[in-house]
């Protein structure tokens, strides 16, 4: 095939113009932004020929670049938060962002729970805060175009430091509320000091009817013997194109549980980049995705076992109704020195209707000889025998299906030990089942 020089798409041109216009106004080190954008711009939006984006062709899915949202007024922010429902019933320390901007008024800095420190990112960038050195903890994430876009445009966010065991969950609320489509780039850095533990909640929601383009990055540096429980919920608006990245670096004997529930957005791609940096660490990374209509949901995962004796478990469940498309790409990397690695990755998908599609790509890249790594992937419809069994007991077909789907997704969700949060996730699954056609 002859070398084809790709024309810039309107979205790429739009992003370049947006960067030109915004770079002087964005806080912090202009050079690192310019560098990130240059790297992005060199290759443009990833398309199907780019292996990591084979199934999520952003070049064709992102037709235009939405303008970056302006900072909302106090009143607008309050109104947006009042309408935001996701995980709203869970009692937690609220750290809200409206249209990509941290809502400072919503946080009472003087009475933060013990062991929690909060630093607004925009101010930190402007003043050159010490913690900024911890941004981008995973070197290879910088090659990712979605991450590069966030680095180029990140205007606000927070940096959290967790210094001890924290009981109260910290709820990062990402709310996009605007009649016309807007883009956001929010960055959150969480430093979990040695021995500390925390439950981090993330909810992502936006107004229906507008093609919002949120691009959020949450980075966690978990020190030695830490315990991080991370629960994320995507109930973005029906037209949204939602890109998100979770980057976690784990120290010795660190524990991580991450559960991501996806129900929203027209197109979503959630990337998890995990790096084991100390021995005997354990991670459980789960996903529960339920999509319908013409939704497209991509879960992409790269876990690098950078240290020996670590254990990773990944469990991704996808339920696809109507003509939706699900994508799972998972990769476990085990370098030469990571002996005694134990990695298990499983992706299971159910297609509920004709017309849906699922693409699975579970990869292993192994260089150490004394390891246990396995992956599995399945794809099919609901078990007819089970359906028959339930229907024979008097359940209408739809209810029988709902029960089986709940059980199927429930396996990924049951790892959440915080009861109100787990109930909220189960309620979201039930809500989804109720509203399916």
């Amino acid at each position: 095939m002859a070398e084809v020089t790709l024309m810039k798409t309107p979205a790429e041109t739009g992003l370049a113009q947006a960067f030109e216009g915004a770079k002087a106004l964005l806080p912090g080190n202009a050079e690192s932004r310019a560098q990130a954008f240059e790297q992005f711009n060199l290759r443009g939006l990833p398309h199907r020929r780019v292996e990591e984006f084979k199934y999520t062709d952003l070049r064709s899915l992102m037709r235009e670049a939405a303008p970056f949202a302006a900072k909302p007024s106090g009143e607008e922010a309050r109104a947006a938060l009042a309408n935001a429902k996701a995980l709203a019933g869970v009692s937690a320390l609220q750290v809200p962002f409206v249209n990509g901007h941290f809502v400072r008024d919503a946080v009472r800095f003087e009475s933060l729970p013990e062991g929690v420190e909060v630093v607004p990112l925009a101010e930190a960038l402007a003043s050159g805060h010490d913690w900024l050195a911890h941004l981008s903890p995973i070197p290879w994430a910088s090659d990712n175009p979605v991450y590069q876009l966030n680095t180029s445009f990140m205007a606000d966010g927070v940096m959290l430091r967790i210094t001890g065991p924290v009981e109260t969950p910290v709820h990062l609320r990402f709310v996009t509320s605007s009649a016309s489509a807007v883009a956001t780039a929010t960055r959150v850095l969480v430093l979990v000091e040695d021995g500390a533990s925390v439950t981090l909640l993330e909810s992502h929601e936006s107004s229906n009817g507008a093609g919002h383009q949120p691009n959020d990055v949450v980075e966690i540096i978990a020190g030695d013997e830490t315990d991080v429980r991370h629960i994320r919920m995507n109930v973005e608006g029906d037209q949204a194109l939602a890109l998100s990245t979770l980057a976690v670096k784990m120290g010795t004997e660190a524990r991580l549980t991450s559960v991501n529930l996806v129900a929203g957005a027209a197109v979503s791609r959630h990337q998890v980049f995990g790096l084991f940096n100390g021995e005997n660490a354990k991670a459980q990374i789960n996903g529960a995705t339920m999509i319908k209509g013409r939704q497209h949901a991509d879960s992409t995962l790269v876990v690098e076992h950078g240290a020996p004796h670590c254990e990773s478990r990944e469990l991704f469940k996808t339920v696809i109704d109507d003509e939706a498309t699900g994508v799972f790409q998972g990769k476990i990397i085990v370098p030469h020195h990571a002996q005694k690695t134990d990695g298990r990755m499983m992706s299971a998908a159910i297609l509920l209707a004709e017309g849906g599609a699922m693409n699975n790509k579970p990869e292993l890249e192994i260089f150490a000889d004394d390891v246990q790594c396995a992956h599995g992937a399945t794809c099919g419809q609901l078990d007819e025998d089970l359906l028959f069994y339930l229907m024979a007991r008097g359940l209408p077909k739809k209810e029988a299906e709902s029960l089986l789907v709940q059980a199927f997704l429930g396996e990924a969700v049951e790892f959440v030990d915080n009861e109100p949060v787990r109930e909220a996730l189960v309620a979201a699954i039930e809500e989804w089942l109720r509203t399916r056609s």
């Binding site: 004709e354 699922m358 699975n360 990869e363 192994i366 000889d369 790594c373 992937a377 419809q381």
Partner: protein
């Protein structure tokens, strides 16, 4: 769990410096001018006495090839190939188209004797009649030097001959099927092959005929600086059956030689094709000098309903392997199978796997792949299973295991599983314990450990096909079969 000593020893036996087939044969050769051009293609075509349409086909492929780029997606790295530094045609000078074995250069006969390939029918017939007779087509560099049992096969209606001969004798049949599974424009190496292919086998099994013996082709690269461009076309007409074996070796040399083959299989209604390969090209030395670049496109088309295509491969040779024997499951109820053992040693790089494309209703496929990497080699399984919208009831089971010996090598798994049909059921697994719980239970109940039981089941499964290989070809394969599966890493 690390590999046990027994496995390490067995892999050592087939390490790159143990290569037994590395001798050279001194034969005076006639070659085409070095390099690739339209003239060279005309030269090859003329040497083969081809009709005009064939030459045109080649030239069209060449024009297309000039516009293509070498693929880079595979997990292999090698120095750039200079396509103009290769001889595309090399044939023994004395009588390149012998009519009988007596006319074949004795040096060549000696070569095959040394390799253990039976070329004399009477030799086989003189002794006690062996249970499995095998018809052999022996390809030496660019030409077929002998084909055995041609007459006997003809009686059964089976056509088995070098493809260059088939182009002359059965042009309509060749024209109908050639390029219908692997189109000329399929990929860089297939297009190159279409332009310059020299020899290979042609098989046609008429309707309802069960081919009376195994068919096989033995490929030998001998001449320096040459590439081998084999082209094989097998057609199993309605209700027929054929089992075909392929073996390959090459001399030890410091240079890299290119082998770019295209194999096309076509199974019509109710037909079955078994295609087995023992690939033992020279793998290069322990430092990675020399060895064959094996860039091969193999594809089977289950064109008719209820047709079956089975690929079995034992891959131990080649410096670089780039090979994905695939099945297009077009006919309703058709079945595709892929069984592979790939062992890499020294500095070898293997990127191999399969594609199962489910198009028809109730199509089934099974993939069993076992990769063993030792030394400083890289062993990648790359596979695609896909169900199209209309592939109602499609079913796939995939199991790929890899084993690493030492921590200088790498094993990688890159499966793509794409389903566009809700009733398609795809399972992909890498854990050895899940082959079949019933079978496992049965074996374990009789006192076998889980590991022994697993090895027994998977090996028994592969052995089933391997045992049908003639002993001469299967020496390496047999050694591998006993390699246990302990310490698999998915």
């Amino acid at each position: 769990m690390p590999a046990v000593q027994e496995t390490i020893d067995q892999v050592r036996l087939i390490d790159v410096d143990q290569y037994k087939y590395g001798f050279e044969t001194e034969v005076e050769m006639e070659k085409a001018p070095k390099g690739l051009s339209e003239d060279v293609i005309r030269f090859i075509s003329a040497k083969k006495g081809e009709p005009e349409w064939m030459l045109q086909w080649r030239l069209d492929a060449y024009k297309r090839w000039l516009t293509m780029k070498e693929p880079t997606w595979a997990r292999v790295s090698y120095d750039k190939i200079d396509y103009n530094d290769i001889y595309y045609y090399a044939a023994p000078k004395n009588n390149p188209a012998p009519k009988s074995l007596d006319e074949v250069d004795p040096e060549i006969l000696k070569t095959y004797e040394k390799l253990g390939i039976p070329l004399r029918e009477q030799e086989i017939l003189a002794g006690v009649e062996p249970r499995n007779r095998v018809a052999v087509d022996a390809v030496f560099d660019s030409v077929s030097v002998a084909t055995t049992f041609k007459e006997e096969l003809k009686k059964a209606g089976v056509i088995f001959m070098p493809i260059s001969e088939a182009i002359r004798e059965y042009p309509d049949l060749v024209r109908q099927y050639l390029g219908s599974v692997v189109p000329v424009t399929d990929n860089y190496f297939a297009t190159l092959n279409s332009a310059v292919f020299t020899d290979g086998s042609f098989v046609y099994v008429p309707p309802g005929v069960r081919c009376p013996m195994e068919l096989s082709t033995y490929f030998r690269i001998n001449e320096k600086n040459t590439g081998q461009f084999e082209r094989t076309l097998i057609i199993a007409d309605k209700g027929s059956y054929v089992s075909y074996l392929e073996g390959c070796t090459a001399p030890k040399r410091d240079e890299n030689q290119l082998h770019a083959a295209v194999v096309e299989l076509i199974a019509l209604d109710d037909a079955e094709i078994k295609y087995s390969t023992v690939q033992n090209w020279y793998p290069g030395d322990a430092e990675g000098r020399g060895g064959i670049y094996n860039f091969v496109t193999k594809r089977g088309d289950c064109r008719g309903k209820n047709s079956v295509i089975t690929w079995t491969q034992v891959e131990t040779g080649s410096a670089i392997t780039w090979k994905y024997p695939s099945c297009i499951l077009r006919g309703d109820n058709s079945r595709g199978e892929f069984y592979s053992i790939a062992v890499s040693n020294g500095m070898q790089q293997v990127d191999s796997g399969t594609k199962m494309i489910h198009l028809g209703k109730n199509t089934t496929s099974r993939i069993i792949s076992k990769g063993i990497a030792a030394g400083r080699s890289e062993n990648t399984y790359r596979g695609l299973v896909s169900a199209h919208r209309k592939a109602t009831g499609a079913r796939n089971f995939t199991n790929c295991d890899s084993l690493l010996i030492g921590n200088q090598c790498g094993a990688h798994t890159v499966p793509y599983i794409e389903s566009k049909n809700a009733s398609a059921v795809f399972e992909h697994e890498a854990t050895t314990s899940k082959i079949s719980e019933d079978q496992m239970f049965y074996c374990q109940q009789r006192g076998l450990s889980e590991e022994e039981a697993t090895a027994l089941i998977v090996n028994g499964f592969v052995k089933d096909v391997l045992q049908q290989l003639p002993m001469e070809f299967a020496v390496e394969a047999q050694k591998l079969i006993s390699i246990s599966l302990e310490g698999s890493v998915g």
